[in-house]
């Protein structure tokens, strides 16, 4: 029995730690890489920011001065090998020293290297300057040349994402709250049929709507405008919003409402002055859920915002970068982090509301 008392928690925390580390590493690697220079990213893994052992040259010598014959077997610093072997480097039997031939056969030098502990900590903000301000960055290549790297301005896309996300969050909430109030507190013909429609549409995949709505938008000349995307997100989020808010507003005490009625308040006044303030927890939960959903959406923006670069949102810009600069990791890592910044802040600041919204609204079409 005694033994189990510490083996249990150790096992539990051990496995948990392992999962947490595995889950965090991908994001962490991205974050670290976004601060590394272009050259570092391309030539070494991001984990080199941790202490690691690396070969470092301790002595350089001219093979001619040592009297070596490049065409035969050479012996230097206790290692033996031909030119070809030396070109890739030969390690001494105890692994502490490596001898490497740098350059060509006639003019090359011989370097003796030792393994030392080191960290690669050459951090920079250039990547963020490139993606946030679109400023070109002069990169110093290790061979002494310089190169002008063009900027990829994502600040416009950031603003577009805001201009898409905020109304796409507030509008469905407003419309859904009115409807939820009517379903919960008003009597009118067709009430039940309408609510059955809301429940039935909860899980309808939005793909079903893309082609017909796109046709409507073309006819209305709405295509490529923010209004088109707001309405689309409103349409696709409304069933869930109505359902959630109805479930909440229904549970509010009926007496408050009735006493307000006796005081002569209209439905509209009760809704604005009484129901909305009382529903803040439910509104906040759905708001965060919907905001993250819209901010992170790619398909709806891709379909309705189209190809005009001045209207593209962050996810589109990032996906474009992946397509055209798939190996420019200094751009992609910083760009990805720019898109993740706001959701992460929302997530950490309002996690409790987010979780609640998620639990209530896990089925969305």
């Amino acid at each position: 029995m005694k033994r189990r008392n510490w083996v249990g928690p150790l096992l539990v925390n051990g496995i948990l730690l392992l999962v947490v580390i595995i889950w965090t590493i991908p994001t962490f690697g991205l974050l670290v890489s976004s601060f590394r220079t272009r050259f570092d990213i391309q030539t070494s893994g991001w984990w080199n920011v941790f202490p690691h052992r690396e070969w470092q040259t301790v002595a350089t010598s001219d093979p001619k001065a040592l009297g070596l014959d490049p065409d035969g077997v050479m012996t230097i610093e206790g290692v033996q090998g031909t030119f070809e072997q030396l070109r890739t480097g030969i390690e001494s039997p105890d692994g502490s020293t490596r001898v490497i031939w740098v350059g060509n056969k006639r003019l090359g030098t011989i370097e003796v290297q030792k393994q030392v502990w080191t960290v690669t900590w050459d951090f920079t903000l250039d990547n963020y300057k490139q993606v946030l301000f679109g400023s070109g960055v002069v990169a110093n290549n290790p061979d002494g040349t310089t190169e002008l790297l063009p900027g990829q301005d994502m600040s416009q896309a950031f603003l577009n994402s805001l201009a898409v996300s905020i109304p796409s969050t507030v509008i469905p909430i407003l419309i859904a709250a009115f409807a939820a109030y009517a379903f919960a507190w008003m009597k009118f013909p067709g009430r039940k049929t309408m609510f059955i429609l809301v429940v039935g549409l909860l899980v309808v995949p939005l793909q079903i709507a893309l082609v017909p709505i796109l046709r409507d938008y073309m006819a209305l000349k709405l295509n490529g405008t923010f209004l088109a995307v707001w309405l689309a997100h409103t349409g696709f989020g409304l069933a869930l919003a109505t359902y959630l808010l109805f479930n909440y507003i229904r549970t509010l005490p009926r007496e408050t409402l009735e006493s307000a009625f006796i005081d002569g308040a209209s439905h509209f006044t009760i809704f604005v002055k009484l129901i909305m303030p009382l529903s803040v927890p439910a509104l906040a939960s759905f708001a965060i859920f919907q905001f993250l959903w819209v901010w992170n959406d790619y398909l709806v923006a891709l379909t309705f915002l189209g190809v005009d670069p001045s209207y593209k949102v962050l996810t589109q810009r990032l996906a474009d970068l992946t397509g055209t600069f798939g190996n420019q990791w200094q751009l992609l890592t910083a760009g990805a982090f720019v898109t993740m910044l706001l959701p992460m802040i929302v997530f950490f600041a309002l996690q409790r509301y987010f979780v609640r919204g998620l639990m209530a609204g896990s089925v969305k079409g």
Binding site: V12, R191, V211, P212, M344, V355
Partner: protein, 387 residues
């Protein structure tokens, strides 16, 4: 004094009456007109503006949010000025009408329209032909698009991949979520651990694709690997591997895309399970332990049955979610290397290949796949006493 006042109110002068009437007219007609003009002007401004982009963004936000609020206020104002009986009759529809109109326009009608389109060839029903006549034209192909879906190699591949996504994606997410929820429940570091596992939920699929592209990055064998997974493989003496783009192991390379969804969704499952586990009365577990049950028995005989409802809901949610998976495949591989799924095929057919009939048929298949869940939701709703 009070009585006089009341008497005076009952007999307003002609002028006062006219003023009151004008006021009503103003409220009922002029204000709505002004409101619509303001909203329309905002629309024109946004469409044609050359203003600095942050101004445009700000105006767009204020216009969009304010415009909707204004519309409700105006319509409600009109209805409240009607005779009481009419107010009572119409007000509910002012409240519920916009929501219904949008739901019908954006989801209910499109389902019917998409089905109609799916019965036609690539250009849809011919222009200028009536609804009933359209079925007699050459463009009408009946169920051919559906037949093609289940016979064409690429579509069959997508269906197979989607089945893989659904089976592996949902199962792994649920199992892992359950594991982390159970472990976290017994750990002192519960909050931190749950936060970190949950964090990927805040990341977009496009962002997640970049993150995992970086994890999967492959370099020629003679260069240093900058992708973590290949660095590990090479350090262990292996050859660099293409992971999700490794067409030689197809269809199993799909698993490396599914892994991304597992990374994103395990936290979601964990949060739901964690809440459910907290709802199990402590006494039941304690009673079982006193009776000599070990932890594993407690887990399988008490906890699992207790949260079975949550497990089924979560599992269903992730199934629906993986059924529609699009962004990850689109950004990671673009459907190459044998990784197309239904939603990417839908996008490709509808918007790239511009074959609206075929694309619509694919969308209808997605809809049919969620019908059982829809029926279940409606059944649940009917059983509630709410209505």
């Amino acid at each position: 004094m009070e009585q006089t006042g009341a008497v005076e109110k009952k007999k307003p002068g002609k002028v006062a009456e006219a003023v009151g009437w004008l006021g009503r007219l103003f409220v009922a007609v002029i204000i709505p007109v002004i409101a619509f003009v303001v909203i329309y002007q905002g629309f024109i401004f946004l469409r044609d503006t050359q203003a600095p982009r942050w101004v445009t963004a700000l105006v767009a936000i204020v216009w969009g949010v304010g415009g909707v609020a204004l519309l409700y206020w105006v319509f409600n104002g009109i209805v409240e000025r009607l005779p009481d009986a009419w107010t009572q009759r119409l007000q509910p529809f002012v409240f519920v009408g916009p929501a219904m109109a949008i739901l019908i326009w954006y989801l209910a009608l499109p389902a019917v329209r998409t089905f109609y389109l799916s019965l036609f060839g690539r250009d849809g029903p011919p222009q200028g032909v009536g609804f009933f006549e359209s079925f007699t034209t050459d463009a009408f192909v009946g169920l051919q698009n559906y037949v093609a879906m289940f016979t064409e190699r690429l579509l069959q591949e997508s269906l197979r991949n989607n089945v893989m996504w659904i089976v592996f994606g949902s199962t792994f997410s649920v199992l892992l979520g359950l594991l982390v929820a159970t472990l976290a429940d017994r750990s002192r570091f519960e909050r931190v651990a749950k936060s970190l596992v949950f964090l990927p939920m805040a990341i977009s699929f496009v962002g997640a694709s970049v993150i995992w592209n970086f994890m999967y990055e492959i370099r020629p064998a003679d260069q240093p690997q900058i992708g973590l997974l290949n660095a590990i493989v090479v350090a262990l003496g292996g050859q660099p591997f293409a992971w999700d783009k490794a067409v030689e192991i197809a269809p199993w390379n799909n698993l490396f895309l599914i892994l991304i969804v597992l990374w994103l969704q395990a936290g979601f499952a964990m949060v739901l399970f964690s809440a459910a586990l907290k709802g199990i009365p402590e006494e039941i577990q304690e009673a079982a332990r006193v009776d000599g049950a070990n932890e594993i028995q407690v887990f399988f005989k008490i906890m699992i049955p207790h949260i079975m409802g949550t497990i089924i809901t979560t599992w269903t949610t992730i199934v629906i979610f993986t059924l529609k998976i699009f962004d990850i495949v689109w950004v990671m591989t673009g459907g190459q290397y044998g990784t197309h799924v239904i939603a990417t095929q839908f996008y490709r057919q509808s918007f790239t290949a511009r074959n609206s009939g075929y694309g619509s048929a694919i969308a209808i298949i997605l809809l049919i796949a969620v019908v059982p869940v829809m029926i279940y939701n409606l059944k649940q709703f009917r059983e509630q006493e709410a209505f």
